[in-house]
């Protein structure tokens, strides 16, 4: 029943948005996201969608307009990258705190400076504590599938949290590749009609969003957000299963690739996971027990599943496409290390790589697996925070 498509990541996200046809979409351009909203604007101009398309004067306004629309009971979306996300920052927190099920594709780009338009994860990793669910995408197919799933995850009644669907700037956003698309009516039916539990426009049930909330109840509201994020684990898994029934493509918080008997494991998210799979196939053909554990859902973080998945591993390398300055390793590595706390016998190493769009080649991935051979024997090295593909 699929439609064979060849689309860039940006166009794949716009195609999913066309089929979802949200009530309100706010747009402000920023490289490398611009083409996504450019494509969606074409759909608006061609009358393919009914969405109210709001052209705003900044990303702060884009997120504000999206929050306002969602609070009014609309299914609302926007999209951005890097500095645009940074300008949204205070409203990004507010969207989650108001429990508004907004969906936002974020095309990963380095946060300046010096100025750089290419991919790394510094933008969305900086957002990891904002209270948004985060899904990372490996290829154009996953961009499309994740945007569709994000709507149902966000709107799950015991979740009601916004979702970022992230994908690598240029590497995915500007790369045309083949994917299977669903039929319009199939997507429409599957995402269903949005019936908000609370809405500013529901005059029979008057509601206030975002009033002053001081020492008396603020803490309790934060506790509820913690609970919503816990509930999101089950929602991500359940929606993934339902999507499998719809499309034949299964999704979970993690994806294991040739992991069952793997002794040397790379953990990665985004497009690098695909390159790693190709290297693993080559190494397997040479007799090396290599595998991948890909993180699709970084928020909420699947720490128990990770510990379980890595129980047979002898050495694990965590690839981070961003820096957490002054911290013991990149943001992904720190959380893996916490997840593995108490598991003995596994050597763990962190590679910061690909900042500002620096290409990560198959040779780079091979060199990491080569390092893991030593770490599997000798355990976690003293220089456990390393750089990959860097001139020093």
């Amino acid at each position: 029943m699929g439609r064979r498509l060849i689309l860039t990541g940006n166009d794949a996200a716009a195609e999913a948005m066309r089929q979802i046809d949200p009530d309100v979409v706010a747009a402000f351009p920023i490289t490398p996201q611009t083409e996504l909203m450019h494509k969606f604007a074409e759909h608006v101009a061609d009358g393919d969608v009914k969405a109210e398309f709001v052209l705003v004067e900044s990303e702060h306004s884009a997120m504000s307009a999206t929050v306002g629309a969602a609070a009014a009971g609309a299914r609302a979306m926007t999209a951005t990258s890097a500095n645009g996300l940074a300008l949204m920052w205070e409203i990004v927190y507010i969207a989650a705190s108001y429990r508004l099920p907004i969906v936002m594709p974020v095309v990963n780009r380095a946060l300046s400076g010096p100025i750089n338009i290419h991919c790394d994860h510094s933008d969305t990793m900086g957002c990891r504590d904002t209270g948004w669910i985060q899904l990372y995408s490996e290829n154009a197919q996953e961009v499309y599938d994740n945007v569709i799933q994000a709507v149902r995850i966000a709107e799950t009644p015991d979740v009601l949290l916004p979702v970022m669907v992230t994908f690598d700037g240029f590497i995915l956003s500007h790369t045309a590749e083949v994917l299977d698309g669903l039929e319009d009516n199939v997507v429409k039916k599957w995402v269903g009609e949005y019936k908000p539990k609370y809405s500013l426009l529901d005059t029979d049930q008057p509601m206030t969003f975002g009033p002053l909330d001081l020492q008396d109840y603020y803490f309790e509201h934060k506790r509820q957000q913690v609970e919503a994020m816990r509930n999101a684990r089950a929602a991500v898994k359940e929606v993934g299963k339902l999507f499998d029934e719809l499309s034949g493509r299964s999704y979970d918080m993690l994806e294991a690739y040739r992991l069952d008997d793997a002794e040397l494991v790379i953990m990665a998210l985004g497009s690098t996971a695909g390159t790693t799979k190709v290297v693993i196939d080559e190494l397997r053909a040479e007799g090396t027990a290599a595998g991948l554990l890909k993180i699709r859902c970084f928020r909420p973080f699947p720490e128990l599943e990770i510990a379980e998945s890595l129980k047979n591993a002898k050495a694990v390398a965590v690839l981070d496409r961003s820096v957490s300055f002054g911290a013991p390793g990149g943001p992904v590595h720190k959380e893996i290390r916490a997840a593995l706390f108490g598991s003995s016998g596994v050597g763990l190493v962190n590679y910061i790589y690909g900042l500002g769009g620096r290409d990560v080649s198959m040779d780079h991935i091979r060199s990491v697996f080569k390092d893991l051979e030593t770490i599997a024997v000798k355990g976690t090295p003293t220089d456990n925070i390393r750089f990959l593909g860097l001139r020093e």
């Binding site: 060849i6 500007h174 790369t175 045309a176 390159t275 799979k277 080649s361």
Partner: protein, 190 residues
């Protein structure tokens, strides 16, 4: 065709290398193959050297890095022969297609290359005559198809018609199709 065919495009901003790299991938996808087409942007400005990449495969493509060992190289501007390392990573049996009025022997001498098969075509001249603008990407697609046989000429022309059927005047589309067909006929093997 090898398991996965990798093509690298060298051009200058404004010559259409990005469009060509994606268009070839799209044409391959429409023929039932798997493909990727993507640009490698530096500073985005007219005239700046840039690269594009196309991968074509019988099966799904999972790799997401640049192309380092292309079996086909397309050079849209012969001033890049002396400034960009256009032969970098190519195997001995690679095909190189160059937009130039010079001879293949001249190109080989400039690149100091042994092996590899060099094809030449005056794509800019064809583009000026048929399209009225010096944008060599369409004729280079025609030359590439003839030199490599990677796809059928009609598959690429169909994709161009599909992509440029709205937003462009019919004579622009027709000019591009004529340019592709001419380059297909006129490309010269060393």
């Amino acid at each position: 065709m090898p398991e996965m065919l990798e093509i690298r495009w060298h051009g200058r901003g404004g010559q259409g290398a990005k469009t060509a790299s994606l268009l070839l991938a799209e044409a391959a996808a429409m023929e039932g193959k798997y493909s990727q087409g993507f640009p490698d942007y530096g500073p985005e400005r007219m005239g700046a050297p840039m690269r594009g990449f196309t991968r074509i495969s019988a099966g799904p493509i999972r790799v997401h890095c640049a192309v380092y060992s292309p079996s086909i190289v397309v050079v849209l501007d012969d001033t890049l022969l002396s400034t960009a390392d256009v032969a970098s990573g190519t195997p001995e049996d690679a095909i190189m297609i160059v937009n130039t009025v010079r001879s293949a022997g001249d190109v080989r001498a400039e690149l100091k290359l042994k092996g590899r098969k060099i094809f030449t075509i005056d794509a800019t001249g064809i583009a000026i005559e048929e399209i009225g603008r010096p944008i060599p990407n369409s004729p280079m697609l025609g030359a590439l198809i003839k030199a490599s046989g990677v796809l059928s000429l009609e598959a690429v022309i169909d994709q161009i018609k599909k992509k440029f059927s709205h937003g462009f005047r019919p004579e622009v589309l027709e000019g591009n199709v004529r340019a592709i067909r001419r380059a297909y006929e006129e490309v010269e093997e060393e």
